[in-house]
């Protein structure tokens, strides 16, 4: 998981390559969980880097780069999925991909992920940030720009939908 606070003591002397090597793998995983599409995840992460790196010189506390990157990825993925055309295209692709799964556990994971990806953007983001990134309600609220109570509500609603959609599905 992407560390909440990373030490970037060499940031001022480091390069974009160093930052990319250090942060891109976890950033891509986060973007993949939010979008379900590996190529799209890489694109979003590169876009996030391109937006953030230009601001690095103004970042007084370079240790927060990881947090800035995470926030940007969540925002970009949310913005991206507001394009229904892209979302429809993705769902069609993911449906095809699901059929190709052979392992039952993988099938179930894929099914769960598909249901997760059909949740409203903020519910999906709240669940991934809470249960994959292990952020607290307060940290998630700061990222999603809402109150901790709203985070709990988003997670609660999302979990209710997941349970409903996956009722009867067991390992």
């Amino acid at each position: 998981m992407m560390p909440v606070v990373t030490q970037e003591s060499s940031l001022e002397h480091g390069s974009l390559g160093d930052l990319y090597v250090r942060h891109a793998p976890e950033a891509i995983r986060l973007a993949f969980l939010l979008t379900g599409d590996r190529a799209l995840a890489e694109d979003l992460v590169q876009e996030a880097f391109s937006r953030l790196v230009g601001r690095l010189r103004h970042l007084r506390d370079p240790g927060v780069f990881g947090a800035y990157l995470r926030r940007t990825i969540v925002n970009l993925s949310t913005s991206h999925f507001r394009s229904r055309r892209v979302e429809r295209a993705y769902l069609e692709r993911s449906a095809g991909a699901s059929e190709a799964e052979t392992n039952s556990n993988e099938e179930l994971d894929a099914t769960m992920h598909d249901v997760l990806l059909r949740l409203p953007e903020r519910q999906r983001a709240a669940i991934v940030l809470r249960f994959y990134e292990d952020l607290s309600d307060v940290q998630t609220a700061e990222l999603l720009r809402c109150s901790p109570g709203t985070v709990r509500s988003l997670v609660s609603r999302g979990m209710k939908t997941l349970r409903s959609e996956l009722e009867g599905v067991t390992r």
Binding site: L16, G17, Y20, V21, A24, P25, I28, R29, L30, F32, L33, R38, A41, E42, V45, Q46, E47, F49, S50, V53, G54, R55, R60, D61, R71, T72, N75, L76, T78, S79, D109, M112, H113, P120, E121, R122, Q123, I127, V128, F131, Y132, S136, D137, V138, R145, C146, S147, P148, G149, T150, R152, S153, L154, S156, R157, M159, L162, R163, L166, V169
Partner: protein, 405 residues
């Protein structure tokens, strides 16, 4: 039935299907670099074109707002120091210490809304009450429980007994009252990457002004009224409401905290790990608290001035400490600290404040590293009489009278 553990494991496994490194690292980096270069070039080229707009960051569609006539007769004001807070979707007004609470809005827990658990019409959840400076009104966020999960909320303005004066749609978290208590400023629409707008609404619920800040100007900030009520402070800009050119607040750094003194004459802001007090225009800055490495006080944030402007309270140590600084002497007093498992925090739109007399400080504490139960606490400005006021919320507001005309 799927539980949280299964969900966590699924997410881990799905993430694990992604290889640990990008497929073509050098190429990916080159692409990112090219994007940065392209962004810079495009930025330079369009810089002149958008200079006015980008520097201003704001276009005012309807300038020179006209303050609405307040409702007549005006509601009776609450007592100075009264505490307003929300728990489980209800709004309460109580004495300063949380005693004698009166529920003025009967809502439902936000976690129940939109889940199908609530079938009745008109059910709602309320949170984040903020007193108008004259104590006659409360503004709070209102969520329709029957609306879809991602639906926008509303802002409700009520009198001190909960009678709704007006309401209007809003996309914001922090609600800022004008100093004269006739208007509120709140995000009308907020997007991380797309168009944004701030609405200024009167007590009649009519939007008087719509500001459309450039996405680059103001990050995650909520609007704050200037003490004279003539402009909004937003991110790195002061935006006059008469339509004149916004002024960049050059002293605000990315990620830095800042707060205007109650009379608007001075500003306190963090610079690196230092705390600086300067004139309101950023000039004549004096470092009143040194770098954490030398002062031993790390990561100070969440600044708030005392009503008399002689002290500044702040949290430090990633939210594990609450301290107060005597501005004149530079003396810092530790008021309370946690063992690190609890987070002392400032929720946007309240939750951290001096009492009107300046003798007590209101703050919130959230257990389990910010993921557990939240509560409002109070401590004397000398560190004595630490007490919990209300459980189940991070946001409260003590009614303080205007510090400026």
């Amino acid at each position: 039935m799927i539980d949280e553990r299964e969900l966590r494991e699924m997410l881990e496994r799905r993430a694990g299907t992604i290889s640990a490194t990008p497929t073509d690292l050098p190429k990916a980096i080159r692409r990112a670099r090219r994007r940065i270069a392209l962004n810079a070039a495009v930025g330079t080229l369009v810089g002149l074109v958008v200079l006015a707009g980008a520097l201003a960051g704001v276009r005012i569609i309807q300038a020179a707002p006209t303050p609405a006539e307040p409702p007549t007769p005006a509601p009776t004001p609450a007592s100075v120091g009264a505490l307003a807070y929300a728990v489980e979707g209800d709004i309460f007004v109580a004495e300063w210490d949380g005693s004698n609470p009166v529920r003025i809005a009967d809502g439902r827990p936000l976690s129940d809304c939109g889940t199908g658990a609530i079938s009745g019409t008109g059910e709602y959840s309320a949170e984040g009450p903020m007193w108008s400076p004259n104590g006659r009104y409360l503004a709070y966020r209102h969520t329709d429980c029957n609306a879809p999960g991602d639906a926008r909320g509303d802002v409700v303005i009520s009198d001190t007994e909960g009678n709704v004066v007006t309401s209007f749609p809003s996309d914001g978290w922090g609600i800022s009252w004008s100093p004269d208590s006739t208007r509120v400023a709140v995000w009308d629409h907020w997007s991380a990457v797309g168009p944004r707008s701030i609405g200024i609404y009167g007590l009649d619920g009519e939007r008087q002004t719509l500001l459309t800040p450039d996405v680059r100007c103001c990050g995650e900030s909520d609007p704050v009224w200037s003490p004279d009520g003539r402009s909004l402070l937003l991110g790195k800009f002061e935006i006059p409401l008469d339509g004149s050119t916004p002024r960049p607040l050059t002293w605000i750094r990315d990620g830095a905290g800042w707060a205007l003194s109650p009379d608007g004459s001075r500003v306190a802001y963090t610079s690196g790990k230092s705390l600086v007090v300067a004139a309101a225009d950023g000039s004549a800055g004096v470092e009143v608290l040194g770098d954490g490495a030398t002062s031993g006080i790390p990561a100070l944030v969440n600044l708030v001035w005392s009503p008399t402007g002689d002290r500044i309270a702040f949290t430090s140590g990633n939210g594990s400490e609450l301290r107060v600084l005597d501005v004149a002497t530079g003396t810092v007093t530790l008021l309370t600290e946690t063992d690190g498992s609890d987070v002392l925090s400032v929720a946007a739109g309240g939750g951290f404040d001096f009492s009107p007399e300046g003798d007590r400080i209101l703050f919130s504490k959230t257990e389990d590293e910010g993921g557990g139960v939240s509560s409002l606490w109070s401590v004397n400005a000398d560190g004595s009489d630490l007490r919990r006021l209300v459980a189940g919320t991070t946001v409260g507001d003590w009614l303080s009278p205007n510090q400026t005309p």
